[in-house]
């Protein structure tokens, strides 16, 4: 290859637009005659709807339509099941999908009951106050264990209880492992996660063009193609009649791929019915109730070890809050179940989970997507085991790491992509060694911590391992074309929410075609440009769309060289492709630009050879047989104020292996952002619910996100074990940073305050100064 673009810290192609305030976000779409929607939402977690009176709202000047469930006619039906249950023997899954507008009963605070469409957002919100709903409150289901008690109120009255799903998976023989164990560690853990809180809330603009018979929808979705296909089916339109654009999106992190949100079903429907464009932009209060969360799990786990601290087996049983409906299937608990095995050689595993309906907002994957919960359980068990066996916490991990010669490592159980969980490649000991060196582990134990303790300061260290299944199928595609201008365009079906696809994918194209990265124009998330694909989730964009882009660009490269060889009447082997042109090796003055070749490949006169395709263009698809497994180690040194219990992070080290690195600058950003969200999860963010299902802290003043004062400077290191599953050797990196931080905090805080010596362990996340005070002072 003449020039190397992959692996360079290229600054981003998309930044100039974003920095100048010229990038189009959904709320920036302004159309002539546009109407504005607002939603009346349930104030109750669980209630019967006796009546809905919208007469006064309809009479308000400026109101164009008020829509209830009854007004939807045949369009009213539960949304589709986004992810079906996996092919696991004995799986129980009770499908109860969300509805566009509540009819007869509301099952969580924020569930939409009516939609107002008006000449302005202000009028639409005024009219919400005109609607009178007669609710008869019902007892709400909140606490996970209480939800399963006999006689508990039921979220769905047609079901016998609140169990949404039950899945058992096993490898090896845990009972036999337990019988010969020298040591057992049994613990109960509670791991709660919060809301993703992208800085841009959700929003949709829909416009029906009656002359063209086409619907255009701008949507803050992470999966524009799937939304397009679903909308066409629901609205009785051909897929070619619907264009979905996911323009610049202000952060996604998972919840922007839940589909269909009620508003996503209703706003396009209203635009069609009313013949005018309709916009809905979620406000921040709505976002807390109406956009999906991740939430709590309760684990009862047991680790069986031999006398040397080698893991013989793990048994885990957990409950998971899935909210009022379960359209996203079992992705989150399956991730927890699978990721618990982490980077360790665990011969026997027995796991059962039950997903539980509650009268709360729906749960769907949020960055990490349940992996945090599994990592927390296994890492906490190992910390406890190390103490009880008198082993160093690093040593017990090292003894159990999967060695480099065991890959591909087969875990036997089924992962979220329905393929058997298999780790493609890795060198976990190398990660651990690098982290130990970077955090100066031995020096911390022998010098720093004793010195601090002597000074009365509470300094602690945390070091934990994690893996992340990334880059899953089924597939993505890419279309690469050389334009007559010499620029190269790339279109793909994934959406982008800040991951740098406009740059990273351009680097992959530039690598093949010898052009400047700035001369590759990338389009993502516009179904008129490319309409095959699945979406941006599971740390898969750069892996799966990246591989498709590579294949398409390589195919165009072959066409370029063939065309140039014909032009120069020479052998392809004699050609050099670089700097946007093809030249003959050793004769640089004999050159032709890619733009000229593109023009020659699309002639207006003359015969072409049979079988020839016009232009310099190729479309390719890539579908991996299974996901690629990234891994890493995080380590930190923390100081906890003994009075306020406020932690200060002194050093934070990330060692990460995501295979081939496409752009180290963008990778660093992904990891740092993930760690920041992990810190939020570990110590700042908690959704606080009242017993009757009210969310008590639904504002950014009460639900605390980490600020620039809370997220430390991080030290990043990489190791590279390329994935054999795709041509570039990449593994995903989007979620990794967020995954191990809860486990890391728990260990570091225990260490800082020397809690185990007082018989206290940290068995829950999130923490906060006040919660930590309760734990330290025996508040359980």
């Amino acid at each position: 290859m003449e020039t190397r673009h992959i692996g360079r810290a290229v600054t981003r192609n998309e930044d100039a637009r974003l920095l100048a305030g010229r990038a189009l976000f959904v709320d920036d779409v302004e159309l002539p005659g546009m109407l504005h929607a607002a939603f009346l939402r349930s104030p109750h977690a669980h209630a019967e709807i006796r009546s809905v009176d919208v007469a006064a709202a309809r009479a308000r000047p400026g109101v164009v339509a008020v829509v209830t469930a009854e007004d939807l006619g045949a369009y009213w039906k539960p949304g589709p099941l986004l992810v079906p249950p996996p092919p696991i023997p004995g799986v129980v899954f009770r499908q109860r999908c969300q509805v566009p507008l509540a009819r007869g009963v509301v099952r969580h605070v924020g569930e939409p009951v009516a939609m107002v469409v008006a000449e302005s957002r202000y009028i639409a919100e005024d009219a919400l106050a005109d609607i009178v709903v007669d609710y008869a409150p019902l007892p709400a289901v909140g606490d996970l264990e209480a939800a399963l008690a006999p006689g508990a109120p039921r979220v769905h009255a047609d079901l016998p209880d609140n169990i949404a799903a039950e899945v058992r998976q096993a490898k090896g023989d845990y009972a036999a492992a337990r019988a010969r164990a020298a040591h057992l560690v049994r613990r109960r853990f509670r791991y709660d996660r919060g809301a993703s809180i992208p800085m841009e809330t959700r929003g949709i603009v829909a416009a029906w063009d009656a002359k063209a018979d086409r619907l255009t929808v701008w949507d803050t979705t992470q999966a524009p193609v799937v939304i397009r296909n679903g909308l066409a089916a629901m609205l009785g339109l051909a897929e070619s009649q619907v264009r979905v654009v996911a323009p610049f999106i202000g952060g996604g992190f998972g919840p922007k791929i839940m589909m269909f949100y009620p508003e996503e079903m209703l706003v396009p429907w209203a635009a069609l019915r009313l013949g005018r464009p309709v916009k809905w932009i979620e406000d921040r209060l709505e976002h807390f109730f109406a956009t999906t969360h991740e939430r709590g799990q309760i684990h009862e786990a047991e680790l069986a070890l031999d006398a040397e601290g080698r893991i013989l087996g793990v048994r885990d049983e957990f409950l998971m809050d899935t909210g009022a409906y379960d359209p996203y299937g079992l992705t989150v608990p399956l991730n927890s179940q699978c990721t618990l095995l982490n980077c360790y050689d665990i011969p026997a595993y027995e796991s059962r989970f039950r997903a539980v309906f509650t009268n709360r907002t729906l749960v769907s994957p949020y960055r990490g997507a349940g992996r945090q919960h599994g990592i927390f359980v296994i890492e906490r068990l190992l910390d406890a085991a190390a103490r009880e066996l008198g082993l160093d916490r690093v040593e017990i991990r090292r003894r159990n790491l999967i060695p480099p010669d065991r890959f591909p490592y087969r875990n036997e159980i089924i992962y979220q992509d329905f393929a058997p969980l298999t780790y493609d490649s890795g060198d976990y000991a190398a990660l651990l060694d690098k982290a130990l060196a970077a955090i100066r582990y031995e020096r911390f134990l022998s010098e720093e911590q004793p010195r601090a303790r002597a000074e009365g300061r509470h300094l602690g260290l945390g070091i934990v391992c994690y893996v992340e299944g990334t880059g899953i199928g089924p597939y993505e595609g890419a279309k690469v074309r050389v334009q007559p201008s010499g620029k190269v365009t790339l279109a793909t079906g994934i959406g982008t929410q800040g991951q740098g696809h406009f740059t990273v994918l351009a680097q992959v194209v530039a690598e093949q075609l010898g052009v400047d990265v700035r001369d590759v124009e990338v389009t993502t998330g516009d179904t008129d440009q490319f309409d095959w694909g699945v979406g941006t989730f599971a740390s898969r964009g750069a892996v799966v769309a990246g591989a498709a882009t590579h294949e398409a660009a390589a195919a165009v490269r072959a066409k370029v060289l063939k065309a140039a060889a014909e032009h120069f009447e020479c052998a392809e082997a004699d050609l050099v492709l670089a700097d946007g042109k093809v030249s003959i090796a050793g004769v640089p003055e004999r050159a032709i630009t890619l733009g000229e070749l593109a023009r020659l490949a699309n002639p207006l006169r003359g015969a072409v050879k049979p079988g020839t395709e016009p232009g310099l263009e190729a479309t390719r698809y890539f579908g991996p047989e299974m996901g690629a497994t990234a891994a890493g180690v995080h380590a930190m040194v923390i100081e906890v104020d003994a009075e306020t219990l406020r932690p200060t992070i002194h050093r934070y080290v990330v060692v990460h292996d995501c295979g081939t690195v496409l752009n180290p600058l963008i990778l660093a950003g992904q990891i740092q952002g993930g760690v920041a969200q992990g810190i939020g999860n570990a110590f700042f963010e908690r959704l606080v619910w009242s017993e009757d299902g009210q969310l008590l802290n639904a504002s950014l003043a009460d639900y605390l996100l980490p600020t620039s004062l809370d997220v430390p400077r991080m030290e990043l290191h990489h190791t590279v074990t390329p994935s054999p599953l795709n041509p570039l050797g990449t593994k995903g990196a989007g979620e990794a940073g967020a995954i191990p931080v809860g486990a890391l905090f728990a260990q570091a805080i225990e260490d800082a305050l020397d809690l185990p010596s007082r018989g206290i362990e940290i068995a829950e996340i999130p923490l906060s100064p006040s919660r930590l005070w309760e734990i330290v002072h025996g508040g359980g």
Binding site: A668, L700, T707
Partner: protein
């Protein structure tokens, strides 16, 4: 609906006159009346800082003001930062060079906060930068590259 009120503001040096409802937020006025959609709205309760603009030079949250309150004042928004179309200011360039933005939604507010901060504090420490940024939430970056970008911009501005 209440009677409309005349508002005259200067935005990025251009004078605009509109008749608006008294309850219209300044953020909505800028975005939807004037079409200056570079200013973003993240929470509408004054916490996230995405809607930060400069009012007579001071960084303020445009979601916490009514448009009528801005009558007679001079406003600066992100659209006015670049020295010319197709070019970026020193601050904007530093954000690109340090990869200080990912989704870019919080970025305009952060640029407005920082542009005021660097005028008052041309040679800041990292600690001062972090304090200056602490009223603007970013969910993507973890702030480290933003801090780097502000320090880089400060150095370049000092060095001219």
């Amino acid at each position: 609906m209440s009677a409309r009120v005349a508002v005259t503001v200067s935005v990025n040096g251009t004078t605009h006159r509109r008749e608006v409802e008294p309850r219209l937020l300044l953020s909505d006025f800028l975005r939807h009346e004037l079409g200056l959609t570079g200013t973003h709205v993240g929470c509408e309760h004054g916490v996230c800082g995405a809607c930060t603009i400069r009012l007579d030079g001071a960084p303020v949250r445009s979601c916490l003001m009514f448009a009528v309150q801005a009558d007679g004042h001079a406003i600066a928004t992100v659209e006015g930062l670049a020295p010319a179309p197709g070019r970026l200011s020193v601050l904007q360039e530093a954000f690109r060079d340090a990869h200080a933005l990912q989704c870019g939604y919080c970025t305009p507010g952060i640029l407005m906060t920082v542009s005021a901060f660097l005028e008052e504090t041309p040679d800041p420490t990292e600690e001062e930068v972090r304090h200056a940024l602490s009223g603007n939430l970013c969910r993507c970056t973890g702030y480290q590259h933003i801090v780097d970008a502000v320090l880089l911009a400060a150095r370049r501005l000092r060095e001219g």
